[in-house]
Subunit: 397 residues, 2 copies
């Protein structure tokens, strides 16, 4: 093929936990690269870095436009994902694959672990004298990337959480009791805090919001629930899966018989109802309340197709396009960050930041977004509202 | 007030588990009754029968049309709900309240327990020689009312389950492992079976579907998972919360430290992740698979506002209107049943059936809707598809 001998090629991969809009970013990168004449083939790596070392690619230049537009609205990672954390040997294999396929552009769509993978590959390429443009495209429902106003995937997951709490607050008002909902979030409480948008009227839940930014004390929790329940006859609670004691040990890890860790050293928190069930049992036992329930939102919140933020959908596409256009302009490394230009009306810009600004770093909620030890501030609500979009109606009689 | 002395009045209540469209039925009844000149006030009872005995009403004739249209699109029960099962003494109080308020029309929106409540009140009224029109308006996500093609609330909950599985199937394809999702359903597996609509392409999950219509055997389950996992490298499973052993004991009840029952004698199944966690632990232990996760959809599936079936929304409104029009025509008792007139194009009719046809009875999935012991038939898929509506796109690369 003349294209593969005359031109250089690009590789795109998706990594980490999927989101409902991560394929918008993938299609955004492809759209951006299609305008670049020097690029021959755009290779999609299946299962992130693993697809690169295993020569498991799909040639995206051969995928019809109609199919790509269907991919864009498909939830989760269309190229599949990976939790591999490449070490030196792994990265040598990646570079060998890049050389073999004449790859000069590498786009990695993911969160902070994924941006670190991007950084490691890029460092090794530089040391090897291999010319590579390594661009990280942000994605994480945790909203925990430094330098970003927010991250693609978060607004939609936040909409899911806010909608779930809106429905559940009404459910809890209909059949009163104590209800505990466990939301994803290892270190950052943004997603759990998003439950606040469910409050439409005075007295609405969530009445208590616990995020991992603050130490969680079970006795204090029980006292909080007791107070609210006595006052309102019901209590709706949002809890991050990552809540931990004053020593930093996750409550969930203390409950697990066997702690499971991924390649990045992260303890498994999702995919179990143990934390919610533990807290519900404590409330039943200590307060003698009969109707106590716990739900754990689990994986639903990151790939539910019927609940997508309009802003998120557009921005996720845009970060992909912007990453491609930076590469086309000759930029050799960096990550794309979303910066808020104005809140009313909402307007965002997209900037290039160094890979080291986000790689393996975690942003958490700053104190001004919290209120006391079990609520969030109006400032957080103002920050979140334009990202999530118009909330459903909640009109009781 | 002249209206209250010259006219008779109507009472509407909502009972049992909420749905995302139950307020459509409430507003449908109000709309239907507003055309009846002999009716003075339309009273909404807060918390079902409890509101009637406690004189806790809202006068719906005074609620503005705009507010009612907002109520219609609000998830969960706008009048709140109740799980009370009225005995003789309770019903005497209900009749006394009806007499006090000149109530001649009683509309109770709910499932099989609620239709039984309606029947008991009606029987007592008859015995007391009190003229009362007692109409049951169907509602239940379980889809387990006899004589009905399906019940309002089910299509939307089925859409939620199908959408959740569609996203989760892609999530599981992106990061392979064994994933168990527990779906609501005590005796009837319709809602769990709705997960089948997530299958868009060959190989898609759910790969195994377990409903309470058949006995659940843990050894057989493990063998099923082993077979699928070895074949596909992943396995997505739908399990009803109500699955039970060959003796009829729910697996969830065997796991609970303390079994909680409601006034209708129902054991608590929802609001805990114990069943999913138990099954996940068994898979890990017996098959040695590392990545095993369980999510329990819990209360989200019955009151999630962003995921409503278009057919369900319209039909839920219609059953309310039809119930009111039967009462206006002088019908004194009955329940409204949805009958399917044609499947392509989908068309339904609404008929009056005796209260005793639905009261305290449970419909389960007939054998022809099942396939083997861990799947559902194409006939079920054809039955379900028009109710759920167009599914989201799932296009992988």
């Amino acid at each position: 093929m003349s294209a593969s001998t005359k031109h250089v090629n690009a590789v795109i991969g998706q990594s980490g936990g999927p989101t409902v809009v991560i394929n918008q970013s993938l299609v955004g990168v492809v759209e951006g690269l299609q305008k670049v004449k020097s690029i021959g083939r755009i290779l999609g790596a299946h299962h992130g870095v693993r697809g690169i070392v295993n020569d498991d690619f799909i040639d995206l230049t051969k995928v019809a436009k109609g199919r790509l537009s269907r991919v864009a609205v498909t939830p989760s990672s269309a190229l599949r994902s990976s939790r591999d954390k490449p070490d030196e040997a792994y990265c040598q294999k990646i570079l060998a694959a890049f050389e073999r396929h004449r790859v000069r552009y590498f786009f990695y769509i993911g969160g902070n672990d994924s941006s670190d993978t991007c950084r490691i590959v890029n460092d090794l390429a530089k040391r090897a004298g291999y010319e590579l443009a390594a661009l990280h495209v942000p994605k994480t429902i945790d909203n925990d990337l430094k330098e970003n106003d927010h991250t693609p995937g978060f607004p939609s997951a936040a909409r899911f959480v806010a909608c779930a709490f809106l429905g559940d607050n009404l459910d809890n008002a209909a059949l009163p009791g104590v209800k505990i909902n466990v939301v994803m979030g290892r270190h950052a409480g943004f997603l759990t805090a998003a439950s606040v948008l469910a409050r439409a009227h005075e007295g609405d839940g969530p009445h208590l919001i616990y995020v991992p930014e603050l130490a969680f004390d079970v006795d204090k929790f029980i006292a909080d629930v007791d107070r609210i329940y006595k006052e309102k006859g019901r209590c709706l609670i949002a809890v991050s899966e990552g809540i931990h004691d004053a020593q930093g040990t996750p409550i969930a890890a203390k409950l697990a018989e066997q702690v499971e860790k991924d390649a990045h050293g992260n303890v498994q928190l999702s995919g179990t109802g143990a934390l919610g069930d533990f807290l519900a049992a404590e409330v039943k036992k200590r307060l003698g309340i009969k109707r106590v329930r716990a739900d754990t939102f689990g994986y639903l919140q990151r790939s539910f197709p019927d609940c997508v933020s309009v802003v998120d959908r557009a921005e996720a596409r845009k970060v992909g396009q912007v990453a491609a256009s930076f590469a086309a302009k000759g930029v050799l490394e960096g990550s794309i960050a979303i910066k808020r230009k104005s809140n009313k009306p909402y307007k965002a810009g997209f900037e290039l930041i160094p890979l080291t600004a986000v790689a393996a770093k975690t942003r958490v909620m700053p104190p001004e977004l919290l209120l006391g030890d079990s609520d969030v501030s109006d400032k957080f609500r103002e920050y979140l509202a334009p990202l999530v979009g118009k909330m459903p109606v909640a009109e009781l009689l």
